[in-house]
Symmetry: D2
Subunit: 257 residues, 4 copies
């Protein structure tokens, strides 16, 4: 896992984890524990008291809980000057507005709320959006295990929409495609004009390829995720960054330079 601080601080950053016994929370505890510049000072889950966090002097809290408790947790942390890194889902624009309000009242406190902590996935989308305006053609191929219910994946759909927006801004027209004789489905799903293909096979985990093409060359950006521990470097990146980012940060993008 990347370790970006150059100088080792005198004191490790004190971290508390909410939802510590959940699938993701447990991984966060392990990752914080293993990082020499972080100290795991409190682990809280359903039935535990939040005061364990403040009593332990946590400077940053990581929240992987549920939509029904996360807002209470966040308000409680912000009011006590504790920074927050949040992976819990369910943030509507209305909820984000509320969080912004709490943060405005406590200048100096930061919160990072991200739908995806996979650094690789976030960079893939970032690069895809940047490349989009320079290539005549683009298609997405995502590959997952066959137990997945939706096709294409949410990440693929999101990537396609970002690409479509970048193409529109650059004044690019539709991608060239002379197909006349198609067996239904061969050319994939059409997401805002970008073709997306969903492959399903036993043995696969979670993979995505974005293929760009122009005269005589192609550029491919591929992300392979093998395990949920792949989210941990992104969580730690946010934990280390949030004390220096007062206010609300949405998504990992701004933290990735």
């Amino acid at each position: 896992m990347t370790d970006e601080q150059v100088s080792s601080p005198a004191e490790p950053l004190r971290v508390g984890v909410l939802g510590a016994r959940g699938r993701m929370g447990a991984e966060v505890c392990k990752a914080v524990d293993a990082a020499s510049d972080l100290e795991l000072v409190a682990t809280v889950d359903q039935g535990d008291d939040l005061t364990a966090v403040s009593d332990a002097g946590a400077q940053v809290v990581v929240d992987f809980t549920t939509p029904d408790v996360v807002m209470g947790n966040l308000q409680w942390c912000v009011e006590r000057g504790i920074h927050a890194v949040v992976g819990t889902t369910g943030f509507t624009e209305q909820r984000l507005e509320q969080v912004r309000g709490w943060l405005a009242a406590k200048p100096g406190v930061g919160a990072v709320i991200a739908p995806n902590f996979g650094i690789g996935a976030v960079l893939m989308m970032q690069f895809a959006a940047r490349a989009a305006r320079h290539f005549e053609s683009v298609e997405i191929i995502e590959q997952h295990h066959p137990r997945k219910l939706d096709a294409p994946s949410g990440t693929a759909t999101h990537t396609a929409r970002q690409i479509a927006r970048a193409r529109a801004e650059a004044g690019l027209g539709p991608v060239p495609d002379a197909t006349k004789d198609e067996v239904a489905g061969a050319r994939g799903a059409d997401i805002d004009g970008v073709r997306v293909h969903a492959v399903r096979a036993t043995g696969l985990v979670a993979h995505q390829e974005v293929l760009f093409g122009t005269t005589g060359e192609t550029l491919t950006i591929r992300h392979d995720s093998y395990d949920r521990v792949s989210f941990m470097p992104g969580v730690l990146l946010a934990v280390r960054a949030v004390p220096d980012r007062p206010g609300l940060t949405l998504g990992l993008d701004p933290l990735l330079g």
Copy 2:
């Protein structure tokens, strides 16, 4: 290009080319010319007389002409004891029967008729058919330039059918797929139960990937063709093999054994 004869024969094999000024024929002439164990002795095209071939003492003829003249060419060659390698299209079962008849009357004379001289493509299909019975999952992704009219490609459809047959023979049921929520087309075309995805992008030439998956592992067979010269090694392989293969040989498969 592979060069499989170990001992160099005293005399190069004498080769004539029919359709010598066509796209493929011209490449064949160049390839024969460049091979030290072959000698290009006659080049014939529309308007030329076939006797140029027999006059020059050709032992093997390569035919890349058109469906309307190929049968006449073939009969003429076989009757004169000249072996033939044929890449011209349009061979129905009825036509093949006729050719078998001519060859039966001239024991010792051979003809290789193949729809595809790409060694890589033929091996890809061969390997795919062999792997098919050992994997729970399989999908095909073919990638071509955007001027292509059909989707999926003929090669992909043919590969899918061979895989489906191999799965049926092995008693395999349908591939696992829990997809419930699909944007139309995302899961590709269904060719005999095998999903096939057709990608189109400027910069691509002709590519195909067959992905097999079972518990914890995947096997991928990929073919990339950049140029029509990729057919030449297969044509030369057939030219060198045909004198030792009396009767009719269909496709490159038996020569790749």
Copy 3:
């Protein structure tokens, strides 16, 4: 996992596992348990008595133990008419001769001894050896996690040797390579004339790519292994096949058609 029997037999095959509490043995127990045509009737490990296997009427035994006990186990099984599937390492030619002797004395009893039960890996090597004679160029790129001690991997070295032998048999000379100005190591390790590149990166598990090239085209065979459960389909394949294969079978190759 593939399930190749077409008709479901009246009775499931009775299977015992030796080394049942080991890393691999435990996975075998789970896999046998999950297969509807197999019944796990005995699990034996250090300190347990082998008679548990015969008492339970096991027809096939799977042995993932250690080199110091495997010979005793095998002799015991063969004498009692129990077929064996062996993944334990350490089989020298001398040991194999001994096993052949025991089997000769008990016609009808079979043993499959294999160094690698990964169907994908075995097929990759099989296909690579078959393709080798048809391509001018070939290189191997293997990719593993950075905790691996050897470079290249044993599988890559083995694949390179098989390819080199196939090239020699086909009379192919050295692969073309005009490199004059090389930073040391750039062109990889030379294994019998085949260049092998070993990539190491966090996040990778175990991957291998064999790249073949000839004029205008390339053929790539790639194997990705994500988990040790990837060996289970191969173990079950051997368990189902061994009752019909009296005598010694070496490696999965003969079982893969």
Copy 4:
């Protein structure tokens, strides 16, 4: 090829080509000719007079000539207020200083000098440098035809150096690698601590893959170049951009957003 201007200007941009009969120059002429927003007004080569360019009213000149004439050409153009796009090699820091001097004397005139006009290659390097600080591991695999003299390629070496610099700036230590038992060369060439593998095979053209890895995931950026026409979109991008970029622009990077 991408076509980024949204509104079609009343008048096409008037373009002259120096080195018009060279390999690259000829392709530039074709590409300018085919673009509806550009007009090819002058083509000059050895022995021709430069005044053909000014007489034709060229607004932009593209120079693919040789190191011994390019400085004269550039000075001549800048003095006449003609913008320049230069792909000719041989620009030392001293030469660049001279060009900056000429441009300072003619405010409003722009020059783009780039060692590589492949948009895909430039973006690959840009993305690689940005991703570098976020991944523990990184390796480069470049693949070329076997007639190439150097290994690794200049692009691969350049990419490795940029990655090494980004890692150093981020305070990342050496990549993890437990290799103890290496066949010489297996782990590739060491370029500033980044391992680079050079694959050579008939059938390949020019390809490069940068593989990044961190816990549980990998990110791969791959560029495939099939043809020297792949440089044309980059040349046209520079031609369209240079009138709005007074002074010296080095490389395509600043034009790619």
